[in-house]
């Protein structure tokens, strides 16, 4: 990996829940709990996980769209978590966000050109003519026509709307773009258009991507390294080939085995690992490993002590007592 450009350390996000009854204790949902990862310049790190894993919340916290309870986010060595005012604006200029749902993430009352220009209005001092020129360039870059600038979001198809979302994220020439499930709301035939576009733009603009997705097929296609999250924790972090070809954490293995395979060869090569049941209640997490209740290899220690992330190879980290013992045995 190149030098870490975006470095996230011990990030935690807590949500206070309504107390039960008038005198009940206020409970806290630890949506993201002590999460660390880093992304090199020009690299794509994917965070993958199922609903409730905290992947989107982690992304929002990095972009300062929800408040983090603890941790640090360093951009090129400079801590940007919790900055305010001008520093926050400067940070937003460098870190932009692409949202999951192109239907709800565009203000229905603004025209396409206004939507793309909004970050420029809020974050830069460009003149009107300069802004117009940037908007024109961005429309061309994402494959929209100039005469579509005057249209409103509902006059576009899903794929085109996502192009508007991408153009908008590119407006301030950011260095980091956080993509939160950018294709999961789109029809399959359109997904490829957007994925190819993102890849082209990454090279063209030298972008660093933090890519959030639940779709392992997509993740495999776009990422250089992958972090797997479960119940607010990163359980495995490895480069692409290492993660897909030799996953170490039982959850990652189960996740990989659950993806439907199209070709008969891949289906035959796959080992089905069923994980029964549902994840535990995120508000009352059990002691020990959060995956213990569904893990096929559960051991007594798993229900007592939470496993720590540790190296299991070059740039391959996992948090599991089983792999810990396997490594120790080697």
């Amino acid at each position: 990996m190149a030098d870490p450009f975006l470095q996230v350390d011990n990030l935690s996000v807590h949500f206070a829940l309504k107390r039960k009854g008038m005198f009940g204790a206020k409970s806290v949902l630890k949506a993201v709990d002590d999460v660390s990862f880093s992304v090199g310049r020009g690299e794509t790190l994917a965070i993958v996980g199922e609903s409730g894993s905290g992947k989107t919340t982690a992304a929002l916290a990095v972009a300062q769209l929800v408040n983090a309870a603890a941790g640090s986010v360093k951009l090129d060595g400079e801590d940007v978590l919790g900055v305010q005012g001008d520093a926050l604006r400067a940070m937003r200029e460098r870190v932009q966000f692409i949202f999951q749902d192109p239907y709800s993430s565009l203000n229905p009352r603004r025209r396409a050109e206004d939507l793309v220009r909004e970050p420029l209005d809020s974050l830069t001092d460009n003149t009107k003519a300069e802004k117009q020129q940037i908007v024109d360039e961005l429309f061309a870059a994402v494959g929209l026509r100039k005469e579509q600038q005057r249209l409103f979001p509902h006059q576009f198809s899903g794929g085109q709307r996502q192009r508007i979302g991408i153009a908008r994220a590119l407006a301030t020439r950011p260095e980091v773009i956080i993509c939160d499930e950018p294709v999961s709301a789109l029809d399959v035939a359109v997904q490829a258009q957007i994925l190819n576009l993102l890849r082209r733009l990454q090279t063209e603009f030298g972008l660093t991507f933090l890519f959030i997705s639940h779709d392992l097929g997509v993740v495999q296609h776009v990422s250089d390294r992958i972090a797997v999250m479960y119940m607010g924790r990163v359980v495995e972090l490895a480069d692409r080939l290492s993660l897909f070809n030799s996953p170490r954490h039982p959850y990652t293995k189960a996740l990989l085995s659950a993806v439907p395979a199209v070709s008969r060869k891949d289906r035959a090569a796959r080992q089905r690992i069923l994980i029964p049941g549902d994840p535990p209640d995120p508000v009352n997490l059990p002691a020990g490993c959060r995956f213990a209740s569904r893990c096929p290899h559960v051991m007594p220690i798993c229900k007592e002590q939470e496993p720590m992330m540790q190296n299991v190879g070059t740039s391959h980290l996992t948090a599991c007592h089983l792999t810990e013992q396997e490594e120790a045995a080697v």
């Binding site: 029809d187 399959v188 359109v190 997509v218 439907p260 199209v262």
Partner: protein
């Protein structure tokens, strides 16, 4: 022997502001008892409309069967009376939907809702229906069914709610189960559980399954045969393995290669994703006598815009509606 379900030259018209549009145009297929067939295509291709027409649940005043026939075990459904259809719906054909949250009534326990179906369709007593509900929850692998039967829908996870829906659909031992995107709202690990469950239920009860999906992976996992739909028309039909191996319609080809797949083992190389450029034609263009996919197709020639392609048959029962099917 007669097939369980036989659909011939079905045409369904939808009333829109601009006029009448054929959302299903000349669709024919047969479903044998115990078979699993899958409809695949993008949103708006008519795959859900087919399911609704089989159930006799087309939106009233907006959609209607214009011509063609739907025969269930030899009985014509397009002309069947409402009470007869209602009877069939609970007992012989049932359906599960994409969103298990909104398909369950939030003010009743899941047990009450399953028991209600049993009492209405099978005339069971209150007591017997309740016990049967517990059995069914157990059959769809809800742990601790005896106590979960008194849970309200909001107390269950998405996967469990979908299991409840399946239990309810199976309550009267239907001959056909229509599953409309049953796992789209669920996580992959839960999806795998639901697929396992459906496969086992099919094996144990001999229920035929019609799976409606947009995911070729799901088709490959679940179905024997597949019907690829595009803009209300059948693009291709045939055995799943054969079609995935060698699609004869450019749209099928596109659907398979437009999403990235995980190969074992994964290599440094990343497959090129095929883009299907443009978007689905608008409803107003659905009736046209030309290939509706032509505008997005890389194989387009002047033939394609002149007339609607004729079905071309291949061995093994694969049929593709494309002027260039032989060449692809």
């Amino acid at each position: 022997m007669d097939p369980l379900l036989k659909i011939e030259n079905l045409r369904i018209e939808l009333q829109t502001r601009a006029g009448v549009a054929p959302v299903i145009d000349d669709l024919s297929f047969e479903l044998a008892a115990g078979e699993a067939i899958s409809f695949v295509g993008e949103s708006g291709c008519g795959k859900s409309m087919t399911a609704l027409s089989i159930m006799g649940l087309l939106p009233e005043g907006i959609g209607r069967v214009a011509s063609g026939s739907i025969q269930f075990a030899g009985e014509e459904l397009t002309t069947a009376s409402r009470p007869r259809l209602r009877d069939l719906r609970g007992n012989d054909i049932s359906m599960i939907f994409q969103e298990p949250m909104t398909s369950l009534n939030p003010v009743y326990t899941v047990g009450e809702q399953i028991a209600e179906v049993l009492r209405a369709h099978q005339g069971l007593s209150r007591r017997a229906a309740w016990n049967m509900a517990i059995e069914l929850l157990d059959a769809v692998r809800i742990p601790n069914a005896k106590s979960r039967v008194s849970s309200y829908p909001f107390q269950m996870s998405g996967g469990q709610r979908q299991r409840v829906m399946i239990a309810m659909a199976l309550a009267c031992k239907p001959k056909i189960l229509i599953a409309d995107e049953p796992t789209t709202a669920l996580d992959v690990t839960v999806q795998a559980q639901i697929f396992d469950l459906l496969r086992d239920l099919r094996r144990d009860t001999g229920t035929a399954i019609i799976l409606i999906t947009h995911d070729m992976g799901a088709v490959a996992e679940m179905a024997d045969r597949v019907i690829v739909m595009y803009a209300g028309r059948k693009a291709e039909i045939g055995p799943v393995e054969q079609i995935i191996e060698h699609p004869r319609h450019p749209y099928t080809k596109g659907l398979i290669s437009c999403v990235p797949h995980i190969h074992t083992p994964l290599t440094e190389e990343r497959e090129e994703l095929t883009e299907i450029p443009g978007i689905v034609p608008s409803l107003n263009d659905f009736g046209a006598d030309s290939c509706l996919f032509a505008s997005r197709c890389a194989w387009r020639t002047s033939d394609c815009t002149k007339a609607r392609p004729k079905p071309v048959s291949f061995e093994g029962g694969q049929i593709a509606d494309c002027w260039h099917a032989e060449a692809i």
